[in-house]
Amino acid sequence: MKPAPFAYVRPAAVADAVAELADGHGKVLAGGQSLVPVLAMRLGRPATLVDITAIEELQQLRRTGDRLRVGAAVRQRGVERAADAAAVPLLGMALPFVGHRELRSRGTVCGSLAHADPAAELPAVACCLGARIELAGPAGRRTVDARGFFVGAMTTAVGAEDVVTAVEFPVAAPGDGFGFGEIARRHGDFALAGVAAAVTVREGAVDAARLAGFGISDRPVFRDVTALMTAVGDDPDALRGATADLARELVDTGGDGHGSTGYRRRLFAVLTARELGAALARARSSEVSR
């Protein structure tokens, strides 16, 4: 389990990091918690690792107005501990499910997005909330909506010469409520199925409802479910029926030895009904406490 040899550079500026990737044979290293196992198993053999963690700009975690900005070098455990991050409750709900403490202490939020494992939690959170992912490349900087960022299994809008520099999540407002759940064989494993849910209420009625499923397709699957939530009202049986229909539509993974497609559909339907219901209840109580 020794990686093949590679060169290592640790630039001090984003522009330098982008320049290091110019030959197309480099790979960005932040926490390395997904990348280093890939190197150890020699599934990947980049010529150069570009360590971006010394770039000061990327180390910032701060709230600006209605956005929480998480730099690409910010570790998951740093977000768990940051008071500012409480403004995005869904992040706090999802992070304990990301690997283990020992991985979150080095792994980064942006790294998880860039790696884009189809069963990973944070890509689903980003899709559910409509986060914006910032990239720097040879042509300059650009921003990509999370819902258009993931294009397949471990494939994203990040080009070979691009560096993810930050992600911005919208902070929660009164009347917003969230739910997050997943089923994995063991705590810390990738999910067999999972869901991130966000519901907004106005005067007790559903104004908006969105979800992103993960572990159910080759990428996180986003769906606006405002109409579904409005239709089922407060009837839990109707909600379960509706999510079962939704699961048939959204779960398209072929399944594996850990769970067939049908099993994952059932997991997703049950989880989604549970977390949408919980998100609605939280949304109502957050509106009342305003």
């Binding site: 060169a7 390395g32 196992p37 283990h100 403490r101 063991r186």
Partner: protein, 423 residues
């Protein structure tokens, strides 16, 4: 580059070594690493701390869990080059044999181990949970299975482990005590690194035998010995031999001075046959303190063996005039053993060292008296030992065999190790 928590380095080519500075268990360490070397290998092979175990080497099993900048991390998923400036604490830093950390005592009380292979990882992960977890020592026993899921016990001995962690948490409502074995260990000397090797100096393939610095060992020694020998020679003659490293080395059975380096640094080798085992050390020694007027000297020596053993010794030598003429030579040493050699246990290590010091004193006496190089049978320290103290040597050899058998053969594997230590 100011303002960055991790200054340096700019660029390291594949296969090229670069210096990385870290603090390991409170001691400053500089290691030369290539980009692909992970932290666990560096801790084990270069720093000599083999308490950090390696299981899967791709981040699944948690055996290699250490604290990096205060938080638990997988040492196999961290490249050593990423750790420039990092503060690392390994299981060796948690406590010492005679002063264990509360977690270690609880693991012992609950028998929180079966084969023991996951224990370092379990200890460091549970330390992190109780010291840095979101709820500290207020974590409930019900939360522990999920919270401790980052380290696997393939013996499935989880009950004792979780009970130990729960007990430790309950016993420390105001917070977990910090690691108990962090000491400062000063970097004394360092070469310019492997790229700047002197012509003719062999560069070993791994960093193991290629130590380029001498460190004052820290923490509890594996064994301590003190030997007082009455010599017939005059004190100034005795001390003249002690100060002449070439002659002094020849007084030690099996030892040889290879090279005298700058800065009071010496490179040497020594062969120590023990029953079925022969240890062949190569290493460095450095005089820390020498007061010829007072006939006192302190030196540190470190050696690594091709089999993966490592030893460090902090040695104090002193001479004073004997009551009836002659000289009393006093030698005291703290020995730190890791790897294969540590399997011998502290009693055996102490006994063997004591005999070697007695032999050294006798040879120094002879060299001081005759002015000639001492004649010690080389390579035959085992024979020397037997001649000096046949009974003791026989006892320690027997102990070694017993220990080797119990260590090496807990689970006989079919078709392998047909020959035990008894042949």
């Amino acid at each position: 580059m100011t303002g960055y928590p991790r200054p340096r380095p700019a660029r390291v080519g594949p296969g090229e070594a670069t210096d990385v500075r870290m603090t390991v268990n409170g001691a400053e360490v500089t290691v030369a690493v290539t980009p692909r070397m992970h932290l666990a290998d560096v801790l084990r092979e270069q720093v000599g701390l083999t308490g950090t175990h390696l299981g899967c080497e791709h981040g699944v099993c948690g055996m290699c869990t250490v604290l990096v900048d205060g938080d638990a991390a997988r040492a196999c998923l961290l490249l050593a080059v990423q750790c420039d400036g990092a503060e690392v604490v390994t299981v060796e830093g948690l406590g010492r044999a005679d002063d264990q950390h509360p977690l270690q005592r609880a693991f012992s009380a609950h028998h929180g181990l079966q084969c023991g292979f996951c224990t370092p990882g379990m200890l460091m992960s549970s330390y992190d949970l109780l010291a840095n977890g979101p709820r500290g020592t207020s974590v409930t026993p019900e939360e522990l299975p999920a919270e401790m899921s980052g380290v696997l016990c393939r013996c499935t001995g989880y009950r004792g482990i979780l009970a130990a962690v729960a007990d430790t948490a309950a016993a420390h409502p105001d917070g977990l005590p910090p690691p108990a074995n962090l000491e400062s260990r000063t970097v004394l000397a360092r070469s310019r690194g492997p790229a700047a090797a002197e012509p003719g100096t062999e560069q070993p393939a791994s960093g193991r035998a290629g130590a380029t610095e001498v460190r004052v060992p820290s923490g509890a020694p594996s064994a301590s010995v003190a030997v007082s020998s009455a010599l017939t020679s005059d004190i100034d003659d005795v001390w003249a031999v002690v100060l002449d490293f070439r002659r002094l080395a020849r007084c030690l059975p099996g030892a040889e001075l290879v090279e005298t380096l700058d800065g009071g640094l010496f490179r040497g080798r020594a062969r120590v046959p023990l029953g079925p085992v022969t240890l062949a050390f190569e290493g460095l020694a450095q005089v820390l303190d020498s007061d010829p007027g007072q006939h006192r000297m302190r030196l540190v020596a470190q050696g690594t063996d091709v089999g993966g053993s490592a030893t460090q010794a902090d040695i104090r030598l002193a001479a004073r005039p004997g009551p009836d003429g002659g000289t009393v030579l006093e030698a005291a040493a703290d020995l730190h053993l890791t790897g294969r050699i540590a399997q011998f246990g502290r009693a055996l290590a102490g006994d063997v060292s004591r005999r070697m010091f007695e032999q050294l004193a006798r040879a120094v006496d002879e060299a001081a008296r005759t002015g000639a190089d001492p004649v010690v049978s080389v390579p035959g320290p085992a024979r020397v030992l037997l001649g000096v103290a046949r009974d003791a040597a026989r006892r320690v050899a027997a102990e070694a065999v017993v220990r080797l058998r119990t260590r090496l053969r807990p689970r006989p594997r079919r078709g392998r190790r047909a020959h035990g230590p008894n042949g």
